[in-house]
């Protein structure tokens, strides 16, 4: 079966990847794949093994076990003693520091990969101009790399990575050195350009909002292992455990027990509240069954705070703090010993010390593994 004929078939395949540094298993049996033209993000805190995984795909690290293939080519395989050197892999890569060569002009930087592929000068010039226009550096071709701003270096690095139309694009936290505003702008732009050139991409970041905006698929990693993989909506709405729920966005985490499974994927969660025990209807995440200890994850925007007691299920509490953020009101509400994070509508004029009632939406309360 030829992967090019089936758009959903895996194009990049990483299988059983293991990489150790001394006694430290930086990457511990990672497997994932990406379809042709797909955009996969490896997301996790620093030290989770995401950059090491990327370096193994690039061929800048040798792996200890596992196999990496793109299309029909084996890039590296520990068992078969195959190791394709980085320059033979036909990969474009954007580094965290951009790595634009300071002793060359922008055009020379971008032309470099084409020269390495032995392409004729006339075609090189044409393609360099074309790709510089695509990234918005059309009039910067003759500038030295050191004369560019951070954002422009970023664009030049992207141009250099895509100019040879490689089989794979790798991004190693490319936006982490930019300021917030530029970062938000570049996210959209990067995604647009990647979509336009249609090159399969692996993107490494620790910024969850970046991952949500850009990816077709997110792989959440921790301590060298994959915690969860799925689309941005799925990861956000149905995190499989406390770690993922905490890492993607903000969530209230109540510890308790699942006491009843009412329907497939639906149940009741019991949580201690003062001396009482409150039962909350909720959805059940993967691996959570009757009697299992679990964590109830509720996003701050899914908690409703009202002055009137709206009946069960709900909590009564006291407003500790309100912060006006323009488009919403960020509140802290103390119920028993638990401090809730609540995002309220900016027109709800809650005040500090006020008594409020919190109501949860059962459809948006998810019991996950602790």
């Amino acid at each position: 079966m030829n992967p090019r004929e089936n758009p959903a078939a895996p194009y990049l395949e990483v299988q059983g990847l293991v990489k150790t540094f001394g006694n430290d298993r930086a990457v511990d049996n990672i497997s994932f794949s990406a379809p042709q033209g797909g955009f996969v993000t490896l997301l996790g805190p620093s030290g989770c093994g995401k950059t090491t995984t990327l370096m193994c795909i690039a061929g800048l690290h040798k792996l200890d076990a596992g196999e990496i293939r793109v299309g029909e080519t084996i890039y590296t395989s520990a068992a078969r003693h195959v190791f394709l050197p980085p320059e033979k892999r036909d990969i474009g890569m954007v580094f965290q520091s951009y790595a634009i060569w300071p002793h060359m002009t922008v055009a020379a930087n971008v032309a470099y990969p084409l020269e390495m592929r032995g392409i004729a000068r006339a075609e090189i010039d044409e393609r360099v101009n074309e790709v510089l226009r695509l990234v918005g550096l059309g009039d910067m071709a003759d500038k030295l790399a050191t004369q560019l701003s951070g954002g422009q270096q970023q664009r030049a690095a992207l141009a250099r990575a895509i100019v040879s139309r490689p089989r794979l694009l790798l991004f190693d936290e490319p936006l982490s050195n930019l300021d917030l505003k530029l970062r938000e702008q570049m996210r959209i732009e990067l995604k647009r350009i990647q979509h336009e050139v249609g090159i399969t991409s692996v993107y490494v970041t620790h910024d969850q909002s970046e991952a949500l905006v850009m990816s077709d698929e997110i792989i959440v990693m921790s301590k060298g292992r994959i915690e969860q993989r799925g689309g941005p909506r799925e990861i956000y709405a149905r995190p499989v455990n406390r770690y993922v729920s905490n890492f993607i966005g903000v969530a209230n985490m109540l510890e308790g027990t699942v006491v009843r499974v009412s329907a497939p994927g639906r149940g009741e969660f019991e949580v201690a509240h003062g001396n009482a025990r409150i039962h909350l209807p909720c959805r059940l995440g993967e691996g959570v069954g009757e009697g299992s200890p679990a964590v109830l994850s509720v996003r701050p925007e899914d908690v409703r705070a009202t002055r009137e007691d709206g009946g069960n299920p709900g909590f009564a509490g006291e407003v500790l703090q309100t912060i006006f953020l323009g488009n919403c009101l960020d509140c802290r509400v103390l119920c028993g010993a638990f401090e809730w994070k609540v995002l309220a509508h900016p027109r709800t004029r809650l005040r500090r010390g006020e008594r409020v009632f919190l109501r949860l939406d059962p459809e948006r309360s998810l019991a996950v593994m602790p």
């Binding site: 079966m1 992967p3 078939a9 895996p10 395949e13 690039a58 061929g59 800048l60 029909e72 080519t73 084996i74 395989s77 078969r80 003693h81 195959v82 190791f83 050197p85 980085p86 320059e87 033979k88 892999r89 036909d90 990969i91 474009g92 890569m93 580094f95 965290q96 520091s97 790595a99 060569w101 300071p102 002793h103 470099y112 990969p113 390495m116 592929r117 690095a157 250099r160 990575a161 040879s164 790798l170």
Partner: protein
């Protein structure tokens, strides 16, 4: 999904793949460079250790294994005294150089002393000149009979005898101390300049006065730099040959280096005894350098940030003129007076301590420089040509070796890179004369003995770490991602080296090359062990004239060498900018 065709081929040849994966441009180049470095560094040291246990019989014909050499060292009165003298000279010159170096660095980096930017290059001049020449100059100025200063004192004040005498251990300490002052200066001035002023400002805001801040914040931050400088001066003084040879040995003040020299050449040559003495001196210096490299250097604060700080400047008030006077006095005594004295002596047909205007002549220069003249002196005229050849070739070969070595130390991780890093520190631990003894016993029975090649080998062995350090400092500042992105763009390791790595390292390569070029132009203690007739170097020429000809001829070649060194320094500084020669 898997394509059987591709897998079938691969399944057939896993073993071959394993071997092919090991043979890459990168691994072959770095392994070759490592093996060369290991051989060059370890062979002489090993040969020296082995031969120090060979004891020559009374006739010098045959030898036996044993500890006789070491026993002789403990029993021999002269060697014991040489050992004590060496320690005293090193201690004294370290104290002198540290006091001078730290105070001058502080004045230049942290006070409002007038003209301090203009004075800085002059403070560094002794660093580029030959201490041997300094000793000759001070001998001509302040030896009891022919010293110019003593003669002037006798003529002007009618006193008897001499007012100063440098032909003793104090003269050696004086000359070594002022010549190695720039070493301490360079170690300290960087951390004083690059220190974040907010470190001191925050101390001041807590109520600490200027003196208290200096003692509790500034000094502790600079202390590792001072200690590093002091240890390097101690080790360099212990290995210094030229100064004690000129001012000590003829007057009964022997040091370990002059003793090693007498065992390497001359009538009572005993290489095995020389090797044993070299081992002893080398063990001491290597231990001290090890302490400096592994314990003190990591605590230095010179490279905390790349930010351009404007350091706090202390207003000295009226005392700034005293500071200026102090700095001018150093330049006067370290550079101006000795060179003027040498120049005066070099213009006289014979030197009796008195300036005789009617006799002034350039004849001495003609005899030591113009090889086509009938009355030229071979040892002197050979020197310039040989030294220029050795400096060019030595600096170029050493830098060519240093590139793959630095690459392996700083761009690959693993056991090999740590071993190589260690090998690059080892030669720094051994004085030139010690390493030269090792090179001599290693290669004496090979065809390279008595050629320029053995000198070249000695120079590179001893000094290539200095070049390597220059490259390393740039390499550490250049992100590895610049190399990696070239590989990702489809360039091989060699192409990456040629088009990305080397162009980016150019400043470090040039700085290292220039430093080695200067060092090789004035090198004495290796050359003196390894030269033979026809392969004299500049410094060996000076030695020859001093030993077998007269003072004016010696002074003439000394001045010639000094001019060549100063011109090189000025030209290279123009080419490379002011940082180049102080790295």
């Amino acid at each position: 999904m898997r394509t059987p065709a591709a897998l079938g081929v691969l399944d057939g040849a896993p073993a071959e793949n394993r071997w092919r994966a090991l043979i890459t441009q990168e691994s072959v180049s770095t392994i070759v460079a490592s093996v060369v470095i290991a051989a060059v560094v370890l062979l002489p040291l090993a040969a020296m250790v082995v031969s120090s246990f060979l004891v020559m019989d009374g006739f010098g014909f045959s030898s036996n294994w044993g500890l006789g050499n070491y026993r002789a060292m403990v029993e021999d009165r002269i060697i014991k005294q040489a050992f004590v003298n060496t320690l005293m000279i090193s201690t004294g010159s370290t104290m002198l150089a540290t006091v001078l170096g730290v105070s001058l660095a502080w004045i230049n980096a942290r006070t409002n002393c007038p003209w301090r930017e203009k004075l800085e290059p002059f403070n560094l001049i002794p660093f580029f000149l030959s201490p041997f020449v300094g000793a000759i100059a001070w001998h001509d100025l302040a030896s009891p009979k022919i010293g110019l200063l003593n003669a002037l004192a006798r003529d002007m004040f009618g006193i008897q005898g001499a007012i100063v005498n440098v032909d003793n251990i104090y003269g050696i300490i004086w000359v070594t101390g002022i010549f190695f002052t720039p070493l301490v200066y360079l170690f300290v001035v960087g951390s004083l300049r690059r220190m974040d002023p907010s470190l001191e400002d925050s101390a001041r805001t807590t109520g600490a006065g200027l003196l208290r801040t200096t003692l509790t914040v500034t000094l502790p931050l600079v202390l590792p730099g001072i200690l590093s400088g002091a240890i390097i001066v101690f080790v360099t003084s212990a290995g210094e040959f030229g100064v004690p040879f000129k001012l000590g040995a003829p007057y009964g003040w022997e040091t370990l280096t002059t003793q090693i020299f007498s065992k390497a050449v001359g009538d009572d040559a005993n290489y095995y005894m020389g090797a044993a003495m070299s081992m002893t001196l080398g063990a001491i210096t290597a231990f001290l350098v090890w302490i400096q490299q592994r314990i003190i250097a990591p605590r230095e604060f010179t490279t905390v940030t790349g930010k351009g700080f404007r350091p706090n400047v202390v207003d000295l008030g009226k005392w700034k003129w005293a500071a200026l006077g102090y700095n001018l006095a150093f330049v006067l005594f370290a550079v101006v007076i000795p060179l003027v004295g040498l120049l005066i002596v070099s213009l006289h047909p014979v030197w009796q301590g008195r300036i005789i205007p009617a006799d002034l002549t350039f004849h001495n220069y003609a005899r030591v420089l113009f090889w086509w003249r009938g009355d030229h002196i071979d040892a002197a005229t050979n020197g310039i040509g040989n030294s220029v050849i050795l400096a060019f070739a030595g600096a170029s070969i050493a830098m060519a070796l240093a590139i793959p070595v630095s690459y392996m130390i700083h761009r690959t991780k693993g056991y090999g890179s740590r071993v190589l890093d260690f090998l690059c520190v080892v030669p720094i631990g051994f004085p030139g004369i010690v390493l030269a003894m090792g090179v001599l016993v290693t290669y004496i029975k090979t065809p390279i003995y008595a050629t320029l090649w053995i000198l070249l080998l000695g120079y590179i062995t001893r000094f290539f770490p200095y070049g390597q350090r220059n490259i390393a400092s740039v390499m550490l500042a250049v992100s590895e991602e610049l190399d990696q992105s070239s590989r990702m763009a489809g360039a091989s390791w060699f192409t990456t080296l040629k088009r990305v790595t080397l162009p980016l390292l150019k400043p470090g390569i040039f700085a290292g090359w220039v430093l080695l070029f200067i060092i090789f132009l004035r090198e004495l203690s290796i050359s003196i062990i390894l030269y033979s007739t026809g392969t004299e170097t500049l410094s060996v020429g000076v030695y020859y004239l001093s030993n077998f000809e007269n003072e004016p001829l010696t002074a003439a070649l000394s001045i010639a060498q000094t001019v060549i060194l100063l011109v090189s320094v000025v030209v290279f500084r123009r080419l490379a900018g002011r940082e180049a020669l102080t790295a």
